[in-house]
């Protein structure tokens, strides 16, 4: 059973701090859980997107900040609007502010193919990236599993706060312990040496998947100096994304990946070498 009774406000407060507005959508089809706004970022006009808890959500399994059916499709709509409204040479950046505890776990969601909804959003983000829109994910809270695949993981560059409340993972700790038949204490112990198991964002950074790990004074209450810093670092990520390739290769070619993901690199190298050999 879900035990998180305190709903996270991080997504909303950072959205408001960075976009300077509430993000309430004007599209009548949108749930209140999806925030969307266009706001200046450096010299560019960027689109900001965020999923927040919505106690009044139509779908009962998507009321605590989970990414459900309506959230995924709304995200896809607003990412594709940016793609479709493209007129200038410089494609507009898309900033996904990420604080999502999970995808929606429910019978209705499975029946109505939430896997497709998640894929539709991932397709929109990836399409934007491949067309040259810098797509930046800023992880301010949780970024879990299918929720992160739906909202953020297709970004050119991922930034996260260096804060204990920031968790990027494949499954929340209690469930992961249950599925792997371990106690939470055993899982914590293993995570000390097995980096991809860790729930600590500092360990996640060792995997080479992050562009930037940002130290802010208060991750729950954005201070002016921190907002300026975060904007600056997002802008730097936008510039870096514009200069780099439009795929995700920067993740496994990063300095940290050279040690932690040596198996990825070895596998790729062997595949490239064997692929073209004639039998």
């Amino acid at each position: 059973m879900s035990t998180d009774s305190i709903l996270s406000t991080r997504g909303r407060v950072w959205f408001e701090a960075l976009a300077g507005q509430s993000g309430k959508s004007t599209d009548p089809r949108d749930p209140d859980s999806v925030l969307v706004a266009d706001a200046p970022l450096g010299e560019a006009q960027a689109r900001f997107l965020c999923v927040v808890p919505n106690a009044a959500a139509r779908f009962p399994r998507a009321r605590e900040g989970e990414v459900g059916l309506e959230e995924a499709y709304a995200l896809a709509t607003h990412v594709r609007e940016v793609i479709d409204s493209h007129k200038s040479v410089d494609r507009r950046p898309i900033i996904a502010i990420v604080d999502v505890k999970s995808q929606a776990y429910g019978r209705r969601e499975e029946t109505a193919a939430i896997y497709l909804a998640a894929a539709v959003a991932a397709d929109a983000y990836a399409s934007a990236r491949m067309l040259g829109h810098p797509v930046i994910a800023l992880v301010v809270g949780q970024a879990l599993s299918g929720a992160f695949l739906t909202h953020g993981y297709q970004a050119n560059r991922i930034l996260a706060f260096d804060d204990p409340g920031v968790i990027i993972h494949a499954m929340h700790k209690e469930a992961a312990a249950r599925v792997t038949r371990r106690s939470v204490a055993e899982l914590d112990k293993l995570a000390e040496t097995i980096v991809p198991l860790s729930y600590d964002i500092k360990d996640y950074a060792k995997l080479g998947l992050l562009y930037d790990l940002l130290k802010v004074k208060d991750a729950d209450k954005p201070q002016t100096a921190d907002v300026d810093l975060v904007k600056e670092r997002i802008s730097a990520a936008v510039d870096d994304a514009r200069r780099g390739p439009k795929d995700l290769s920067s993740r496994w070619l990063s300095a940290a990946a050279a040690t932690t993901r040596s198996a990825t690199l070895k596998t790729r190298e062997a595949m490239f070498s064997q692929w073209s050999q004639t039998s």
């Binding site: 599993s145 499954m171 595949m271």
Partner: protein, 291 residues
Amino acid sequence: MTTSTEALPSAHMAKRRDSFIELNGRERAITFFDPDSWRELLGPFDRIESPWLLPQNVTPQSDDGCIVLKGKIDGISTVVISMEPAFQGGSLGEVSGAKICAALDLACRDTENGIRTNAVLLLETGGVRLTEANLGLAAVAEIIASLLSLRKVSPIVCLSAGTVGCFGGMSLVAALSSYMVMTTEGRLGLNGPEVIEQEHGVEEFDSKDRTLIWAIDGGEQRYATGLADVLVKDDVGEIRQAVRSLLKAGVPSVYRSEQVDLYRKRIAALDPAYQWNPEDLRKTWHRENTK
């Protein structure tokens, strides 16, 4: 348990020989190729294993449960990637993820260089391998990125034949492919029934109710609601023929994953006040209204 095959009637034996599901991952992949046209890449003798399992007292496998064969199907260069259902539930780890990602990237590179290379993905997978957690999840994101690049130039056919089904992050991969093939035994969904029951209780999803599971995730339902392109019997010949036809059809002009407005309309029309009968969804999500 019987030790003699004589006890089995011959008709049953003949049926068994045609079953696709009873084959292992490597045997499944081989069935698609023109005779003697294929070879395995990063096979068991290359011994590229997961570095994360032994420290957790899990025995790794020398192909990491992911078989990659390259050869010809109807004379056209094709890579067939098969998740081995018998190893760690067909789960995706760092090495299997990198194998898939690299193979898709190479198929894309070759196609862009004028050597058309198609892809077939046999997705018997529970999703991310939790003993490699974050590297499995990262691999899903990377596979999605590579698949979307390849999809523009070459067809990618995904298959959920059974018995593991296609769940977790890999269900997104299936949803993003050019074509989805399922058998009646196949299943496709994001969250497995056990996980839903654990999160929200047996009233939300009874993971022991096999009829309910197949009514929602099963091949017949996904096909009837337009979410799978072809429904086939568990038969080597039929599956092979279905995949060959789709590869021949080439790159499709429309993808489900781009039809945002259609599916938003469908979700908006559903009333979440009660649990739906999956049968009813077939009326409004009829496959003929989809593409």
